[in-house]
Symmetry: C2
């Protein structure tokens, strides 16, 4: 009796959001519910117990990932990516059922309250993610460990090449010259800082809050850049000095809404009067309020994904001038797809580092994030900033101009030089 | 006694904002006050009477233009442009004296209250400016009557070529195809609509509120576009139908802050699901609050110059996605410079159409606007919009790709074809 009611509720709730595709859901009672129009890759998932089914109905955004980690939501055919894609590609036009909506709202309120990234908490938040065993990142990132959205110059470009193109694109927007002192806020494993140095900057200073990343960055082969690239473990708010160029890639997501003005005022203080800054951040292309509760809890505590309408007032109040905004759509979906494929291919190596629950968590993270970029409102903003109307050229032609000649400089450090290929 | 006090106040007030250049001010008492460091083009101005001097001190933003129109502020050496440039290039870092600040504030409050562009008022506001004798515009615009910021592909490009480049740049961003129905909101004299048709669109509909502009647009030589371009006198809010492409150039300045959401919701209603829109508007690169009281009164009643932080929330609420933002800096300064030079060269023709006071008003408008783009916070935003993340290519390479081949299509109608040059 209870079982048949649960089956009916599951059928109703899933039918609301899945009208295309080929989905079978095996309920705790063993009933096989089918959804969609029978097109595309078949996906079969099973809920192992009644509590799992109820949890999923009440709070899907948080509980799907948890149930998948705990093997209480089992993918029997297809992949967790295919399931999330089926669910979300139509869900944008649907509202959640009432209980899920109420939980969403309470959670959003709580998050705004929590988003106070004082220096101590920032460091803990960073450690949660970026101080994981570096070998984990080797399993799925490119050779240069670029842990941010690549720039695919054409569909089907390899991840390695697209990450090289990303650095080249950013360097072109910064117009790096031989006299420039450059600050990289959130320098990660140091790949971009070294590429900026290779592109001819006088001096590059990278700052990070991750001790693991710092150690890696300091041991990188620096090539011709020896002595011109430095990395420090320091909060960006404590940096002193004056820089001709400032770049920040994939760090603004951790700044916290309450600190946007501090971020841009700090940048303004550090940037020379004829300086140029490039901010590269994940963003939301819709109204503010995009929340990813599972990602917040398991992957990026303290993170926040802003809409342009939340970033712009802080820039204007800080007295910086927006000179260009590129909105990278789908590039991060392609990046995450490549990461997930690489990660799945090295599953056993990952399991040797952590455990299977961790691996399932990581797979779910890469899959859910990809779907969010492909079907929901996630994009990447590249916001170029200056202090004067007169700093940059009249047109944007310089951005694409450097293509092939510079490319050779960014050859991956792991490319088998001299190999037959 | 009164004279010497007025001289002292003038000296104090002007010295606060002019420390460079070579400025002489002849006071009503005949005293020659000199300012600056003696570098650059000498500028000499004279205030004819004591009331003029006091008015200028109390409310410079409004009264300088009026006094110039009335010949109570006389330029004896140099130009009104050179004077405004001297005053404003340093004034950004200075605040006005107290009475001017209070007037500014009251005026800003009043403007926000007034910015309710109901359809009837919109039409009156448009008539104020755009229903002027069309021959006036022939005196200073390019042959195609492009009355908006040109796109200078390189410094020193001619106005004619830069206006052709502007249309080409916009058309590239719209990715016009032979199947496209296109809506031009604020179509002016019809130049852009005809160019879009020449670029291959299936159908172009231009809407305007100016009867003068409409009449001109309808009589344009349409070339191959005959029958595929239509112009209507209709408020954009009343347009019906569905369009693959929407473009709006130099019209958003007249929409009014209170109607931004209406504007973008209307565009969203009219735009196809795989549609692309390009908005080209004057904007403010600093915090909201840029006011030009003289321009509001004499040139553009009901106009408002928005900051990005004022535009973005309306776009997001309307469910449109920002896909690209180009910030054109200095292009409008160069455009206005070309317009002013052309206008001054045809001064006698302009005086034959109107009167000298009108000509002085027009000269002041072009000069003051140029200085605002060159030294203050004015820029032009080109905001590209879509409804889906999947509408546009991965990279922006397509925007610059069309250069030389398409250029030939846009040859100005007045180019002396077959001439020896």
């Amino acid at each position: 009796m209870m079982d048949s009611m649960l089956d009916r509720i599951l059928r109703w709730a899933i039918a609301r959001i899945v009208s295309h595709g080929n989905l079978t859901v095996v309920t705790p009672a063993g009933t096989r519910l089918t959804f969609g129009d029978g097109t595309g890759e078949p996906v079969t998932v099973r809920l192992t117990d009644r509590a799992a089914a109820i949890a999923l109905l009440m709070d899907p955004d948080m509980r799907l990932g948890e149930l998948y980690m705990d093997k209480r939501f089992v993918v029997e055919q297809g992949s967790i990516y295919a399931f999330v894609h089926l669910i979300l590609r139509e869900a944008q036009n649907q509202s959640h059922p009432l209980p899920a909506r109420l939980i969403d709202r309470a959670r959003a309120a709580l998050r705004r309250f929590r988003l106070r990234n004082l220096p101590g908490r920032s460091k803990r938040n960073v450690a949660h993610h970026y101080d994981l065993d570096g070998r984990l990142y080797n399993l799925f990132l490119d050779a240069d460990r670029q842990y941010s959205c690549a720039y695919f110059e054409y569909a089907g470009q390899s991840l390695e090449d697209a990450q090289v193109a990303k650095k080249r694109h950013i360097i072109a927007k910064l117009r790096i010259g031989p006299q420039h002192r450059v600050l990289d806020i959130g320098s990660g494993w140091g790949g971009l800082a070294c590429s900026i140095s290779d592109a001819g900057a006088a001096e590059v200073r990278g700052v990070t809050l991750s001790e693991e990343q710092l150690a890696f960055a300091r041991e990188r082969p620096k090539g011709g850049a020896e002595g011109r690239v430095h990395f420090d473990l320091i909060d960006y708010r404590s940096v002193q000095g004056r820089f001709d160029r400032i770049v920040s890639v994939g760090m603004f997501e951790h700044v916290g809404l309450a600190y946007y003005e501090t971020f841009f005022r700090t940048a303004g203080r550090l940037l020379a009067d004829d300086g140029v800054m490039l901010l590269h951040t994940i963003g939301c292309s819709a109204e503010p309020g995009f929340t990813t509760p599972w990602l917040d809890k398991y992957i990026f505590p303290g993170g926040y994904i802003p809409s342009l309408s939340e970033i712009l007032p802080a820039i204007e109040r800080a007295g910086l001038i927006v000179t260009d905004v590129e909105v990278l759509r789908l590039h991060y979906a392609e990046t995450l797809k490549a990461w997930r494929e690489r990660f799945l291919a090295r599953w056993d190596d990952a399991k040797a580092l952590y455990d299977e629950r961790f691996c399932r968590m990581w797979e779910y993270y890469l899959a859910a994030a990809e779907v969010a970029f492909r079907c929901e409102d996630l994009v990447v903003f590249q916001i170029q900033l200056a202090k004067s109307n007169k700093t940059l050229p009249l047109t944007r032609d310089y951005i694409g101009a450097e293509h092939p000649p510079v490319a050779a400089k960014f050859t991956s450090v792991e490319t088998p030089l001299g190999s037959a290929a």
